[in-house]
Structure formats: structure tokens, C-alpha cells
Amino acid sequence: MAIAQRIQAQRAAGWQLDRRWRAAAPYVFISPFFIIFLAFGLLPILFSLVVSVFDWRGTTPGAYVGLANYRILLNDPSFYEALFNTIYVWLGSVPTMIFLALVFAVILNSRLVRFRGFFRTLYFLPVVTSLLIAGLIFSLLFSTSFGLVNRVLDPLGIGPINWLADPNWMKVTLILALLWRWIGNDVVLMLAGLQQIPTDLYEAAKVDGASEVQTLWHITVPLMRPVILFDAIISTIGAFNLFAEPFALFGPGGGIEQSGLVTGTLLYQYAFVYFKFGYGSALAWVLAMVIFALSMIQLRLGNRSVD
């Protein structure tokens, strides 16, 4: 009897353990992500918040300065210059990129176009091109005295334009470089969205005698709004974290009159050239707040228009 009871108790304990394991298993399996996120995501984020109230240069002990880094930042002309340039580039590139990406995606999605796979690859190629190569190519293309772009414009009586050292043209060059590099990425997003639209809607529109433009405007665009909104938010975040392209074209200082200085390169400069980690962290937090605010505005506007 005692033995039977013991076996029963052991079974019950086993079932209990089994039940507990079953309940815990999903959490155990997903825990690597949270452990890695905690170590390499959340902790550095918290660390940067703490560092932002210190004057810390790495090799010496950090001195607590309260909100001084934020105060200096809000009086820093370079910060406003970089912010202005970033907003300029953001407004100049994101709407154009979304519009062109949608147009290209619609064309590539059309059954009338042959070799669609080839063209899709072609559009995506700049995204996977080494930035070093891309920077070099753009420097050569946009060179004032020997660049291909000025050579092409010359017979038209335009230029020579000082693409890389004229403050009025530097941002335009940056926008062109961004469009070239990232439009393929947006085309892929748009293509994925287009393929979710039921084809019977287009067939019904065709039966009703709608033109291609009417179909695009009244069916494609409204149904693509969530994708466009997502793309706009992602691109906004990307624009405020922009670093590689302006760095390759104008260097960390942003070139003449700091016209190529954006918030990403400014952050890099403070943190990794001047080693002012406290100031750099304060800048990162202010930028995070700006991005958060802009994303919220876009979400509000986007949701309102979807409704």
C-alpha cells in the first residue's frame, strides 16, 4: 500500500513537473531573445541615459553634470544645423522615394512587363552594394571638374555644378544618393503590399471601364495606405539615423558650411571622434524623442486617412 502510494505520489509529482515544464517551455524557448535584448539592447539604452548626465570621456571617471549636456546641446549651433539638414533631406527624399517606389512597384507588378525578376534584382542591387564603393562612385559621378554628371549637363548649358562643395547643392546630392541607394528597398516593400490586393478588385474596375490611372488612384493607393504609412515611418527613422551616405560624401564634419552635416554624423562625431560620450548620449536621447514625436504624428495622420 505504501509502495503504491509512493508510486502515485511520484507520478503526481512527475505530472506536476511535466505540467510546469509545459507551461514554462515556451518562455524558455523565447528567452534567448530577451536575454540578448536585455544585454545588448535594454542595458546599453539605460546606460546611455545614465551617461547623458555625465561628462564622460572614456578614460577618466565620469563627472556628474546633471542636465548640462542637454543645456549645451540646446544652445549648440551645430545641432540645429544638423537638425535642419536632416529635416531638409528627410522631406526631400522620403515623399519622393515613396512615390517613385510605388510607381516602380506597380510597373514591376504588371503582367505586361517581361523579365520582372531581373528588374526587381536590378532595383535592389544598390541596397546591397558596398557603401565604400557607392561613396566612391558618387564622388566620381558628382566631381565638379571631372564628374560624369557635369559632363552630361554641360552640353545642355547647365553648370558646372559644384555638387560636393556648394552648400546649396550638397543636400541635393545627398538626396540623389539616398534615392539611388534606398529606392530598391522601398520597391520590395511596395511589391509585397501590392501582391496582397485581391485581383478581383482590378477585374471589377476593368469591367466598369476604369482607366489604369483611375485604378491606381482609387484602388491601389487606398489599399496600399498601411504599407505606405509603414514605409514612411521606417524611412523617417532611417533619415534621422542617416550616417553612411553623408559620411562617405562629405566626411564626419559635413563639409562646407556643415551643409552635409546630419544628426547621425553629428552623433558619431561627438561620441567616436571627440569621445564625449555624455554629450553624444544626450544627443541620442533628444533625437530619439524627435523620431518618436514624428512617428506618432505620422501614425495619427495615417490612421485618420485610413479611417
Binding site: F47, S139, G253, F275
Partner: protein, 434 residues
Amino acid sequence: MSITRRQVLQASTLAATSAIWPSRRGTTAAPRAAQGGTLTAWGFEGGGVTEGMQSQVKAFNEKHPDVTVNVQTFPYTDVHTNLLNAIVAGTGAPDLCTIDDFYLTQYTDGLTDLSAHRAEYEDQFVPPTLDLGSYQGKLYGLAGDSEPIGLFYRKDLWDQYGIKEEDIETWADLAEAGNKVNQDSNGDVSLYAMFSNDHYLYEVLAVEQGFGGYYFDETDTKVIVDDPKMVEAVGVIKQLWDSKGALQNPGGTDIYGDEMAVLLKSGKVTCQVIGAGWYPSTLTQNMPELSGKWRLMREPAITAGGPRVGYAYPTILVIPSSSQMQDLAWEFAVMTMTGDGARAQFDKYHILPAWQPLLDELSDQPDEYFGGQKTFQLWNEIAHDEPKVFFGKGFLEAQQIFGAHLPDILSDAKSIEDGLHEAAEEMRQKLSKS
């Protein structure tokens, strides 16, 4: 006993804060005297010091067969951030590291004080390279190259426009000659090119005005950018900018870029005003066909009879204080920067050496690329005329701030006094100097 959510949050915040509190880390590790194992040296691509280190591995191993020398090469920016990261982390720093000199003050708390060796090598290194490897009286590094500044000009073009080197004694002479070239070439040719954010010219003028700290005074506590002497110096920059001989913002990112090389090669611009000791390697690599047509002269003076000097940024080899092989690291650094190591660096890139005996040897040799001129002799003379120069704390940031304010002065948006005062105030605020 129950714990509220607020208590949990408070406890975790405290734990997280104490875990990530910025503290003095990795700067006080006492080195152990170890004479075996691996000596790790970091260098960056280009510049020659890495090649100098590699050339000395065999000779070093003959002396120390039980030590393995591991010379690792990184991209330029990576070596500087990696070194800082390693010093901060307290682990992973190399035994020797190549850095650009203007970064020195950012690492000094994590570097070995080499001052005890200075007297022995005082005469072996071209001035002011030992001063540049030092900060506030302590020696931290040995330089591989020497970087006095001179003016490189195309003699064929200067002859064509009737400009003689001996006539260019002051910067005003250069501006005036610029007007002449512009007029004689109907605006096709510019005597020189300038960028509106060009801090290099300012730095030459600061040294000529006796400010060896460029943007700071000799104590590295005071900003001198708005000093009356520098107001006068920036007046010179304005005069050069306003001359018709100046090609303004010629394209590219700075005065040493590809765009400038094309302009010099094509003869659209006749000279490189700010040419440091490394610049001949750019000329010989980009325009070998112009061999014999180039000449080197001293920088003009601000006033007739004044100093004609300037100094740029050499590469130095430092020893992190966490190294457990400091004696061996020093020995390897000396081998790299003197004797065959110095020769290997010179052979690779023909950059002006910092090791005095080699520069003395070269001084007697005519330089064919410069039409047989004894350029090394001239470099040697300029270097010995240099005042004591140093790159203070915040040098790079001051450089950027100055470059951001200069365009307003050159475009007459601000007076020289106001523009410099604003730049100086920004430096004072950001760099905590007076």
C-alpha cells in the same frame, strides 16, 4: 511580506544604475613584468608605421625568440575607437598602438608615461616630434613621420606667369600674385585654391603668430582664437580668399582630395598652399608625369621678416598602460621608429622621417621630382625653426567649430572680430576652457 511593483522598479533601477555607472575602469591596471608571450601591436592602413613594425619583427625575434610579435592592421578610424574601447574596458588593449597625434590627449590617462626615455632620444628625433608625442611634460609616444608645412608650386606655371619664389615673402604677396595670374590667364588659372571652412591655413598662421597650441594657449586651458593676433591672422585668410587668384571651394571635401589633385595636374591651380611633409607622396603618385616641374618653398610670413613655419599631424606609437610587456613594447617601438624601421617606413611611402639621422642623410640628396632641389634639407630647416607645438584637449572639436564659423567671416556675414569671438565662445563652452 509582499513587494510592491514600485519597490521592484526602484530596486532594479538601483541595480542597473550601479551596474552601468560610468567609472574609472581599465586605467589603473598595474602592468606585470612579463618577458615571454605575444606582443600585440595595432597599426592603421597607410602612413608607414605599420610597415615599419612589420619590417622589424624578424630582427626583434632574433633578440627575443620567446616573444611572438603580432602586428594587426585596422582601418584608420577603427584603430582609434578600438583603442579607446579597450582602455575603457580594461582588457584587450594592445602592447603598442599607432595613433594620429591629435588624438593623443584623449588617451593619456590610459597610456604609459615614457618620460624616463626622453633624454636618451632627444637628439634622435626631429623637433618638434618629441614634444608632439608629449602632453603636459610627459612623453607618451614616438613619431614615425615629421610634418612641417611648406608651399608646393608648379615652377613651369609660375615661370609662365612671371612669378618668382623670392617675391613671395608674405601672404599679401601671394594674394597679389594671385590677382596677377587671374588677370594674365583671363580667369582660366587660379594661383591657389581655398575652402571656406579651411582650418589648415588658420593652423599655419597660429603657429606663425606664436600659438603652438593652435586654438589654445601653452597651458591648454585658454582659447586664443579671438586673440588680437589671431584676428590679424584671419585677416590674412580673408585677404587670400578675396584675391582673384583664389579658386574658392573647388569641389571635393578638402584641399587634399582628388578634385584638388586634378586641378593641380591640369594646371588650373598652380600651387598647394598647405603642403605637409607627407604631401610629396600624393604628388608623385598622382602626377608622376610632372616630375621636375614642382618646387617646395617655405610658407609666406604674415609680415615681412616674420616666421615662415607651420606644422601638421604626425603618426605616433604609444604603449597602453595595461600592457604587461612595456619594456619589450618600448624596445620594439624604438626599433620601428629608428634605424632600419625608420628606413622601411620611408621606403614604403617616402614620407618625411622623424628620425633625425635619416633626415640628415636625405638632406644631401637632390630630389629629382622637385627638379633636383634639396627638399629634405629645406624640410629639415623648417622643422628646426618650428616653435614648441602641441595638440591640446579638444583639438579636433575646436577645428570643427572654427571651420563652421569661418564661412560667415569670409562671406562678410560677420566681421572677423565677431566671427572669431563667437567661435571662441563656443569652444569655451563646449571644451570647458577659459
